[in-house]
C-alpha cells in the first residue's frame, strides 16, 4: 500500500491508530482518581509528543542513517519557530503559509551550516554543529534583537500588519492561529463516566503532519538514497571507490533533517505563537539526540517512542511533588512514610532528570538498540515458544 512493503504498511497503520486514538490511550485513568496525574492526554502535551516526534524522525534520517551526529539541530527548530511567528505577524494567522516558510528557511539555514560542518567528520563535525547552534542562539538572544525580540522572545501583537488577515479581532484581541478558519485551540471534551477525553484541533493537525512525516521517512529509508546514506555510515572508502560522492548525499540528509526540524519548530509556533532563543540552546539539541538513542538509532519508530518517553517524563514525573508522594504512602505509618518519600524524592519532581539519566544509562548499556531492540527481544522471546523457523533473508533495516 502507498508504495510500502507489508511490514512497513502495518507499522504505518499502527502509528496512525496510536496517534488518532491518543486522546483515549493517554488518558487511561478516571479524572478523579489518584492516578489521574499520570494521564497525558491533554492537548498541550499531546502536541508536544508529536511535534518532538517529527523533530526526532528528521534527526534520525541524518544520525540514524549516515551516523553523522549533529549537536546543533535545535537551531533549525528555533529558526522554524521564528519564521512562523513572522508569518503570523506579517501575513495572517493561517498556519499553512507559516509552516511552509518555516520549512524553507530552516532548509536554507541547514544548507549553509551543513555545507560548512560536513567538511569534517566524527567529533569535529559534531563540534562544528554545536558551535553553529550556539552562535545562532547568541545571535537570537542579543545581536539580532530586531528580528527575534531578544530575551523576551518573538510574539504576535495587536499592531502587527497581518496583510492578509486582521491586526485585531472585533473585540480588540489578538487573533488566534488557525488553519483556514479552524482554530488550533479549538477543543471538544467528551465525558464518559468518570473519564474525560479531550479532542483538540491543534493536536490532530500536528498528528496528521507527523503521520505524513513518518510516511516520508519510511520512503526515504527504503529508497536508493536511504541505502546510500547507510552505505556512508558503513564504509566511505568503499563508497568513494564505487564511484559515489558521499558529500552531496550527507548534505542532502542534513538539509532534509534540518527541514524536519524547521517543520517541528513551525508547528510549535502554530500551537502557541511565540518563539524564544532558548529553543535553540544546546540542551534542546542534546535532547533530540537522547530521544533518538533512547528509542533506537536508525530504526523507523524508535525516535517517535524516544520523543514520547522523554516528553512524558518531563511533563508527568516533574509534577510529582512531596505532597503527592505523601498521599501515595499515606497508608504507611508516619516514620516509614517519610522514609519512602525521602528516598523517592530525588527522582521525581525537579529530579526527573535523574530518573531519565538512569534510564538512559540502562538503555545504552543493556539495550544499545534502544526501546525498539527491547521490543524486538520481547517479541523474540515469545516467538521462541513456536518452533525455530529459519529467518527469512531481508534487505531492509529493522523497523
Amino acid at each position: 500500500m502507498l508504495g510500502l512493503g507489508k511490514k512497513d504498511t502495518s507499522l504505518l497503520l499502527v502509528v496512525v491508530a496510536l496517534t488518532m486514538l491518543a486522546p483515549f490511550i493517554l488518558n487511561p485513568f478516571p479524572s478523579d482518581s489518584a492516578m489521574a496525574q499520570f494521564n497525558a492526554g491533554y492537548p498541550d502535551l499531546m502536541q508536544r509528543f508529536v511535534i518532538f516526534g517529527i523533530f526526532a524522525i528528521g534527526f534520525n534520517i541524518l544520525f540514524g542513517l549516515t551516523g553523522y551526529l549533529s549537536f546543533g539541530h535545535a537551531a533549525f527548530l528555533g529558526v522554524g519557530s521564528y519564521s512562523a511567528v513572522w508569518m503570523f505577524k506579517l501575513l495572517s494567522m493561517n498556519i499553512l503559509p507559516a509552516i511552509i516558510l518555516s520549512v524553507i528557511i530552516a532548509g536554507l539555514f541547514s544548507l549553509i551550516i551543513g555545507w560548512v560542518s560536513l567538511r569534517r567528520t566524527g567529533i569535529y563535525f559534531s563540534i562544528l554543529t554545536l558551535a553553529f547552534a550556539q552562535m545562532s542562539f547568541a545571535l537570537a538572544y542579543s545581536v539580532l534583537t530586531p528580528l527575534t525580540n531578544g530575551e523576551t522572545g518573538l510574539q504576535v501583537n495587536l499592531d502587527d500588519p497581518r496583510v492578509l488577515g486582521v491586526s485585531a479581532t472585533a473585540d480588540g484581541s489578538i487573533p488566534v492561529t488557525n488553519l483556514f478558519g479552524l482554530e488550533m485551540r479549538a477543543a471538544y471534551d467528551m465525558a464518559v463516566g468518570p473519564w474525560t477525553f479531550t479532542f483538540s484541533a491543534g493536536y490532530y493537525v500536528c498528528a496528521l503532519v507527523m503521520i505524513a512525516a513518518f510516511y516520508l521517512s519510511i520512503r526515504i529509508f527504503r529508497s536508493p538514497f536511504g541505502m546510500m546514506l547507510r552505505a556512508i555510515k558503513s564504509n566511505q572508502t568503499r563508497m568513494n571507490y564505487t564511484g559515489l560522492n558521499p558529500k552531496p548525499y550527507t548534505l542532502a540528509a542534513f538539509v532534509i533533517s534540518g527541514m524536519y526540524a524547521g517543520l517541528a519548530g513551525g508547528l510549535m509556533a502554530s500551537m502557541d505563537p511565540l518563539a524564544g532563543a532558548e529553543r535553540m540552546q544546546w540542551t534542546a539539541s542534546g535532547e533530540v539526540v537522547l530521544m533518538t538513542i533512547l528509542g533506537g538509532v536508525g530504526t523507523l519508530i524508535g525516535p517517535v517512542l524516544g520523543a514520547g518517553l522523554i516528553k512524558y517524563f518531563e511533563n508527568i514525573f516533574s509534577k510529582i511533588n512531596d505532597t503527592v508522594l505523601h498521599s501515595w504512602f499515606a497508608f504507611l505509618p508516619d516514620g516509614i512514610e517519610d522514609f519512602f518519600v525521602s528516598i523517592i524524592h530525588p527522582f521525581v519532581g525537579k529530579g526527573w532528570h535523574l530518573t531519565l539519566g538512569l534510564m538512559f544509562m540502562l538503555v545504552v548499556t543493556f539495550l544499545p538498540g534502544g526501546l525498539v531492540e527491547g521490543g524486538q527481544r520481547i517479541a523474540k522471546a515469545f516467538r521462541k515458544k513456536e518452533d525455530d523457523k529459519p529467518k527469512s533473508p531481508s534487505t531492509e533495516p529493522a523497523e
Binding site: 529508497s223 536508493p224 536511504g226 568513494n240 571507490y241 564505487t242 560522492n245 542532502a252 533473508p393
Partner: protein
C-alpha cells in the same frame, strides 16, 4: 598505446622512496600481473592509479585521460574498479545491498537524490545483482549481514561488486589472499571467464604464482619501488634476475 599508461611515477613517504620512476603500459583486454616482495610498492602503485594517493612525479593516463588530481569517485566513473588488499565492503549492509550500490552508481552516476523511489521496485537491477551473485556462488548468502561473513567471502563479494560495474579496467590487490584452495580456483575460473566474455583489462597484484601464471598475459616484477623486468609469463619464469630477487625467496610456483 595501452589503456593504462604510467609514466615516471614516483612517490616518497618521508625518507622512504616507495616508488621511483615506475613506467608501466597495460594493453587493452589483457591481464597484467604485478608481482614483487612485500613492501615493493605494489599497493602504493595502485593507490596512485585510483586517486587514493597523488604521485610526486610522473603521469598516469587512463583511456587517453589523466587521472591525476581526480577524486576516487570520478576515477571509478571513468571505468576503473578496485578490489582492496583488505576487503572494503559495506559491512553493515546485506550482501544484496552491497551489490545494488555499485549498480546504482553505474546507472545514476556519482550522485542522484532518488529519495522516494523504492529499492525493491528496481527489478532489473535486482535481477542483475542476483545473476552476478550466482556467478560467484554467493546467491544463497544474499540476505546475509556482510560483516559476519568469512574473509574469503568478503573478497568474493568485493570482486563481484567491482565486476558488476563492468569496469574497463579492474584492479585486483591480492584477490585470493586468505582464500581456501577451492575458492582460489573458483576465482581463477571466474576471472578467466570474465576475460573471455567481456572487454575488460585486468591489473592484478598477487603473491600466489599459481594464480599469476594462470591468468597473466604479461608480468611486471617490482622491487623496492622500481620495475625490475616486464615480460611474458614464460620468460619471467626462467628469468635469473627474477628468481634471485623474488621467486627464489618465496618459492610458491
Amino acid at each position: 598505446m595501452g589503456i593504462l599508461e604510467v609514466k615516471d611515477v614516483g612517490k616518497r613517504f618521508g625518507g622512504l622512496q616507495a616508488l621511483g620512476d615506475v613506467n608501466l603500459s597495460v594493453q587493452e583486454n589483457t591481464c597484467h600481473a604485478i608481482i614483487g616482495p612485500n613492501g615493493a610498492g605494489k599497493s602504493t602503485l595502485l593507490n596512485c592509479l585510483v586517486g587514493k594517493l597523488i604521485p610526486d612525479t610522473g603521469s598516469v593516463m587512463f583511456d587517453g585521460n589523466s587521472v591525476l588530481g581526480r577524486s576516487p569517485h570520478e576515477i571509478n566513473q571513468m571505468g576503473i574498479s578496485r578490489v582492496f588488499q583488505t576487503p572494503e565492503i559495506f559491512g553493515d549492509l546485506s550482501v544484496m545491498e552491497n551489490m545494488m550500490i555499485p549498480l546504482f552508481a553505474r546507472r545514476d552516476g556519482s550522485y542522484r537524490l532518488h529519495a522516494i523511489e523504492s529499492v525493491s521496485t528496481e527489478k532489473e537491477l535486482i535481477t542483475r545483482a542476483e545473476e552476478m551473485l550466482e556467478e560467484v556462488h554467493m546467491l544463497d548468502k544474499r540476505g546475509m549481514h556482510s560483516a559476519s561473513m568469512s574473509r574469503g567471502d568478503k573478497r568474493r563479494l568485493e570482486m563481484a561488486m567491482c565486476l558488476i560495474q563492468s569496469p574497463k579496467l579492474l584492479l585486483l590487490d591480492e584477490p585470493t589472499a586468505g582464500m581456501a584452495r577451492a575458492d582460489t580456483n573458483n576465482t581463477i575460473d571466474l576471472l578467466k571467464k570474465i576475460k573471455e566474455e567481456r572487454d575488460i583489462t585486468i591489473a592484478i597484484i598477487e603473491h600466489d604464482m599459481h594464480v599469476v601464471f594462470s591468468l597473466a598475459d604479461r608480468i611486471t616484477v617490482l622491487a623496492q619501488g622500481t620495475p625490475l623486468v616486464e615480460d611474458t609469463p614464460e620468460n619471467i619464469k626462467g628469468h635469473p634476475k627474477v628468481r634471485e630477487a623474488y621467486l627464489g625467496e618465496t618459492q610458491q610456483v
